[in-house]
Amino acid sequence: MDFNTLRKQAKKYSATETGKTVRVAVLANHASQFLTKSVQYQAKINNLNIELYEADYNQIQSTIVNPNSEMYAFKPDYVYISHSARKLIPRFYGLDAAGKRAFASEFVSELGSLVDLLASRAGCQVIVSNLEEIDDSVFGSLGSTTVSSLLYQLRVINTQLRTLCMENRYLHLADVQSLILRKGYEQAFSPQQYITADLTFSTDFTVLLGEQLVQLLKAFTGDIKKCLILDLDNTLWGGIIGDDGLENIQLGDLGIGKAFSDLQKWAKQLKNRGIILAVCSKNQEMLAKEPFEKHPDMALSLDDIAVFVANWSNKADNIRYIKEVLNIGYDSMVFLDDNPAERDIVKGELPEVSVPDLPGDPAEYLPFLMNLNLFETISYSENDSDRTRQYQEEAKRKALSKSFTDMSGFLDSLDMKGTFEPFSDFDIARIAQLTQRSNQFNLRTVRYTDSEIADIREGENSIGFSVKLSDKFGDYGLISVLIGRKQSEEELFIDTWIMSCRVLERGVEKYVLNRLVDEVKKLGFKSIVGEYLPTRKNGLVKDHYHNLGFVQKENLWYLDLNSYQGFDVSITMA
């Protein structure tokens, strides 16, 4: 999309009425007017409330160093630092050979200390862009392996920036170089715009820069995709299984089978990362499952699919069913289908579901999907990869629950074991992730990053507990998080109480409250104060504190610890 088209598209969207506003400061060493406009337009199109502050041209350092700069007064939640390599060239050319060899290290260490200062002063998350890997051809092909060449130093900068971002929890990378690989530098840079208007990124390329930043910001605010729903015929394989039969569907080396095999392999990688896969196909279930069971070139097996729906009903209804089983929001689902008519039905009935318009040519499926970057995330923990297994275990529990007529008998039969412990180092990523991803069982919907969770763990006036659960069918892992803020010596305010919806109706919240009361009594607290902040999605917990025996006073809920009796629960300590 070009800049002008983006501008016109954005006009069609009205400002969003829901959701918190994110405050973003943009600091750039290049003319950033088009970049900030693109960010604004992309935010509007992508339903993100954003307030922007644009620092003066090429004032990154002074903006950060000066404690009285307007940027600090703006109180940003996020600071985006955008460097263009082209603007570093004059400085680089002015150095002698030794200076050139040290250029990257000095640039990154300077940036590192600036960012440290910024994060400690503003308490914000910082997003840094990496640099265009420009080859000035001064050393010919040898530039790649000559330490004092521009290309070599720019590449070192990009490598060191990655390390810097991995080492600092508050620091995140906007990989601009990967966008340039996608578009080509000839698209990313216009010599005429550079010479006449000093733009180091073409106006059209800022559309992608803006999109990249907005996708990151959306992931920060918890707006992410969790589930990929796949059609089968002509989406996961070429041809129609019901007509063509197992031997003739195109997969692997047969016909254009490679396009479909590649898509499957990619989906499998997503599943390994923690994206839930589901199937939604107009088919006879037995026939639809046959390739998964018997075809040698299928990369996906039935074990990879959390929910498999093959019937002749309306696909929107089937997606509603998948949502029921998985207990996630429509806005966290992506639906892939080669058939435009089916896509239109889903788009019309379930507008929150992402439905990419797959290209007509299957060869383009995968490149198209990769470019969309649908599955943006800001955190990853190893146990994400277990998610499919967890949903399959859940199906077994559902089957068991049908054999019981009373709930407590069922819960006892699950043989549940719980742990309730202060935040540990190992769990920080998962805890942050739960705060970012939980929308339904979430009393105040405060999102935290890894670094903020680490701060809570170490803070004197804050206390955090995480809860893990297992039962005879398997391990749920870390499923609930509580964050308390000390209001006074006697009063603890519950800043955050969230729980994964996978463990609803297990009595977990009662177990958690029992344990919380035990723990905070030891710390000398006399009462706990809770608050419910309604959002579009957390209606589930509107009576949470009422149900647990808290007493309402105005907008807050109070629990007196001395008179707290404790609930009977079916969860024992692990």
């Binding site: 800049f3 002008n4 005429q192 006449t196 059209d204």
Partner: protein, 80 residues
Amino acid sequence: MKFEDVISQFNEIFIDVLEDDDIVLSRETTAADVEEWDSLNHIQLVVEIERHFKVKFTSMEIQSFKNVGEMCDAVVTKLQ
């Protein structure tokens, strides 16, 4: 393409980019005559004109345009 055709298509592009339906361009119109025609929008106008007519201005041309007429003339020449 004749000058008159080019300037009338210019007019459409100006209305679109500057979001002002009242713009009426003449050969002598300059940035000073159109409120929204600032340096940023000028960049966008150039991009859109290039895209629309499938031409490319040199940086020398971009820098030397004094009024709408000169821009149109450049397009007419390039399209010959």
